[in-house]
């Protein structure tokens, strides 16, 4: 049973919180259900047909009793609802300084890209004690990244980015699997989640073969795919400038404002006609079927890196 450690151990503070919640809830379940089982057994014996017992004045309704056994368990579960929802809400609030790792799922493998450009397949290395945020895309069907030791999973849905963040705090090797049924080899789509001390993680990053950081790879694509022809500094076409775009509100044609987040940038590349920035002509072509999900993620990383005050972007 020692092998179960990769599945069931608590690799983060969040995992320990979920286990505490589960334990407390289990106690409440026992408290609510055991009386039913005991009373049924007692009644079946005591009031067995033909057996002598005091059956005087059986009641066939009692509204206050019925209301109380509807309301009291409900109020108890509401306490747990608040507790569980608070823990869940934390999952939607990643720290700003989290290490951003990209995930691309496809039938039947997991691909990871670290910010420095290090890539791995079916293994994810992360430093202990530091928040990590995964931005995930699928190339085909719905998958779900599940790391039981973190008590976390998140579906990876084609056509959109989903994300998941965590702070793993116990170095070790844990399981990483696909939880959403994704076709023939679903059950073998998995690997290892490796939590390392920060120093070991740095060493691991240094050993990995790297061509370019994500943003630099995106910058190359930006030129090669012709994006710079319209969005570059010397362009003659009237296209939205991308410097400092990330995180800013963008007014849309026909009213409405969206925040330029990862999803917006992705949609603008792949589905340019769906949300058009106010005041610009409808001339952006789609890059669907041209760019892979990994390339789109690299472009998003590049555009994110174009901060105000560095008009040329991160020319490395």
């Amino acid at each position: 049973m020692e092998n179960l450690a990769g599945w069931a151990s608590e690799a983060s503070a969040h995992a320990a919180s979920v286990d505490r919640l589960m334990l407390a809830f289990t106690l409440m379940m026992v408290a609510l259900s055991v009386p039913v089982f005991v009373l049924m057994a007692v009644f079946a014996v005591k009031y067995r047909r033909g057996r002598t017992a005091n059956r005087a004045h059986p009641v066939n309704r009692n509204v206050w009793l019925e209301v109380s056994w509807a309301i009291v368990p409900f109020l108890l579960t509401v306490v747990f609802f608040v507790w569980a929802t608070k823990l869940f809400a934390d999952l939607y609030d990643p720290p700003a300084d989290a290490i951003a790792i990209d995930v691309v799922a496809k039938q039947w493998m997991w691909k990871f890209q670290h910010p420095g450009g290090q890539r791995e397949i079916n293994e994810l290395h992360v430093p202990a004690g530091e928040p990590v945020k995964l931005t995930m895309a699928s190339e085909d069907v719905i998958h779900s990244l599940y790391i039981p030791a973190l008590r976390l999973k998140q579906d990876v849905v084609p056509g959109r980015y989903t994300s998941m963040w965590f702070t793993a705090d116990r170095p070790g090797t844990y399981k990483l699997t696909c939880a959403e049924f994704c076709g023939v080899d679903h059950s073998v789509m998995g690997g290892s989640f490796i939590v390392m001390t920060p120093a070991a993680y740095e060493r691991w990053l240094g050993q990995s073969q790297v061509d370019d950081t994500l943003a630099a790879a995106g910058a190359v694509l930006f030129r090669e795919r012709g994006c710079s022809g319209c969005h570059g500094p010397g362009a003659t076409v009237h296209a939205p400038p991308l410097t400092g775009l990330y995180g800013r509100p963008v007014p849309l044609e026909g009213g409405g404002v969206v925040t330029a987040d990862d999803q917006y940038i992705r949609d603008s590349i792949l589905l340019p006609q769906s949300q058009i920035a106010a005041g610009y002509p409808h001339i952006m072509p789609t890059f669907q079927n041209v760019l892979s999900e990994e390339e789109v993620l690299q472009l998003v990383a590049y555009i994110k890196s174009l901060r105000s005050g560095s008009p040329e972007g991160m020319r490395q």
């Binding site: 069931a8 259900s33 069907v141 056509g159 939880a179 049924f181």
Partner: protein, 577 residues
């Protein structure tokens, strides 16, 4: 005359020359003998005969689905892929799910026992639309034949949930054919639901007010509302999947401009209420079994009846709890989580009220009581673990693991199938006219309960440890729990076969049941067993509440009907002394 008297005597169970041909006077005029040709069965419009047609066909599909489950459990004895290929395994569990959900669980109780009993319980001669009732069976069989065809043609590997874009663009199986089968069988559900609603509204006997309806009828009324309102959504959704697969219309596949989550919203908008289609009739059955076992008015009739309707309504508002990690908004998840807790309240009311019904009852430990008690035990575990899954942070961990598999099998199999067998054991003497050996009924109930728990309890642990569902190849550290589960499944399989031996035996060698073998109240127990073709010689006039069992009051001196109750009342007087 003497001849008739001779036939009215009990057939001698030891007389092996008695080939079951001897029959009582009641049997001679019963619906079972009203025509002996195949045609008289296949073209019948008698609700009781249609119920028997459903009983046979639904049970057949239960065993086909069970064979697929046996294949899955046999394969999971080892962590490697040995018995089946990965694709073969996926096809086996898909077939298991599709057949069990649409061809067994949904029609199981309503179309057999609902069909047989609703007219008898409300004092009617048939359902409102007898021909529609027969049509509904033919549509069911047509859908079933499509499914059997798919089975022979090689199957489908999407899971019973048909998640897009896997089902619409990637799967190699016969997705469209299965979608057609489920689409077709949906019309059977809709027609049955309509028939029940109209029947309950229009055909109640004089004096049978809404407040005097049996709880079984209330539960079926609530179920029918869901059948009529939810099934069309599934039909539309499956038609859209077929359209995307056949014609490349972009509805769910993002590469064509569609949205895969739209499918999940539509699918669960049907399929979560469908869970209540499967379990509400079972709750109705158990209300009957508990009241009959206790021989006492149901505690809190109004709350139990109202809770069926409440479950039907709130059940439409919780579908998003299947999508907590699918990428829906955090706020939507919080609302769906809260509503999922709310739907547990009416279920809790039922369980506590059943327990209170047993208090001061006259409980006979007959097979129906054993099935009812095991239903309550398993339903409570299934319901409470459903609350675990409604807790957002916990569901993030447990979603799509074996914990979910265990949870819904406790509800569907521990709950609905136990109630199905409970109903079969309770109303069998009414349907067949003969009594089966009670000891065998008790043993079957006990073996089903034990086999069930051994099969599915280990799966809660597997799930919490992180074992995902629909996994053919799994980590060897999970093997012990999987072997336990497969061992339990083999006990369960044998236990499910047991009733078929002694029930068939009883048809030939069982003693005639008489109109009321359990000594309980209810209109169906006032007519002969098996009932005559038109149920009631004269339409009854109802003058009292349901479950009007005599109650002991202080000062009563054993006025209750039979000797046992008399003894109890005397004992009661004694204990006061």
């Amino acid at each position: 005359m003497t001849m008739d008297n001779a036939l009215e005597r009990r057939p001698n169970p030891d007389d092996l020359n008695d080939r079951g041909l001897s029959e009582t006077q009641d049997e001679r005029v019963s619906y079972l003998r009203a025509g002996h040709t195949l045609r008289s069965w296949l073209l019948t419009t008698d609700h009781k005969r249609i119920a028997i047609l459903y009983l046979i066909s639904v049970t057949l599909f239960f065993f086909i689905g069970g064979a697929a489950a046996a294949l899955v459990r046999a394969d999971l004895l080892t962590p490697q892929a040995d018995l089946l290929t990965n694709e073969g395994y996926n096809r086996a569990f898909t077939l298991h799910g599709v057949i069990m959900v649409w061809f067994f669980l949904i029609p199981s109780i309503p179309n057999t026992f609902g069909n047989f009993l609703i007219p008898l319980m409300i004092g009617a001669r048939d359902l409102a639309f007898p021909r529609l009732n027969l049509l509904s069976w033919y549509i069911y069989m047509l859908g079933g034949l499509f499914t059997v065809f798919v089975l022979i043609a090689g199957g489908v590997d999407t899971g019973w949930t048909f998640y897009t874009p896997l089902s619409s663009m990637f799967s190699n199986g016969h997705v469209v054919m299965v979608a057609v089968a489920v689409f077709v069988v949906g019309f059977s559900s809709i027609l049955t639901g309509l028939n029940f609603i109209v029947t309950v509204h229009k055909l109640r006997a004089p004096g049978m007010s809404w407040g005097r309806l049996r709880l079984f009828v209330w539960a079926h009324y609530a179920t029918s509302l869901i059948l009529v309102l939810a099934t069309p959504v599934l039909s539309v959704t499956l038609a859209l999947v077929a359209a995307e697969r056949l014609f490349g219309l972009g509805i769910f596949d993002p590469k064509l401009g569609g949205d895969p989550l739209l499918f999940q919203h539509l699918f669960w908008f049907y399929s979560h209420p469908a869970v209540y289609i499967m379990v509400l009739p079972a709750l109705g059955v158990v209300s009957e079994l508990v009241a009959a076992s206790a021989r006492k008015p149901v505690f809190g009739y109004r709350f139990i009846a109202g809770s069926s309707i409440a479950i039907a309504i709130i059940g439409f508002l919780v579908w998003g709890h299947h999508m907590f990690v699918a990428g829906q908004s955090m706020y939507a998840s919080a609302v769906f989580s809260f509503l999922s807790l709310a739907v547990a309240v009416p279920s809790g009311i039922k369980v506590y009220n059943w327990t209170a019904t047993l208090y001061k009852g006259h409980i006979e430990l007959d097979p129906p009581f054993f099935f009812a008690a095991s239903f309550i035990g398993l339903f409570v575990v299934g319901g409470l673990t459903g609350l675990v899954l409604a807790m957002l942070a916990v569901d993030v961990h447990l979603h799509d693991t074996y914990f979910v598999v265990a949870h819904f099998h406790y509800i569907m199999v521990g709950g609905t199938v136990s109630a199905y067998f409970g109903a079969l054991h309770f109303w069998w003497p009414k349907m067949s006219g003969r009594i089966y050996p009670r000891i065998w009924g008790r043993l079957a109930a006990i073996f089903i309960f034990l086999g069930f728990n051994l099969t599915f309890f280990p799966q809660f642990i597997l799930g919490y440890l992180g074992m995902p569902r629909r996994y053919h190849v799994y980590d060897p550290s999970f093997q012990v729990l999987h072997v336990l589960s497969s061992a339990g499944a083999s006990i369960l399989g044998v236990a499910y076969l047991m009733p078929f031996t002694y029930l068939f035996w009883s048809m030939r060698y069982g003693a005639p049941a008489g109109p009321n073998p359990w000594d309980v109240r209810g209109l169906e127990w006032t007519v002969p067993s098996p009932p005559p073709k038109h149920n009631f010689e004269e339409i009854p006039v109802v003058t009292g509440p349901p479950y009007d069992y005599p109650l002991e009051r202080e000062g009563d001196q054993g006025e209750a009907g039979d000797a046992a109750e008399g003894n109890a009342a005397e004992g009661n007087a004694g204990s006061r002394a």
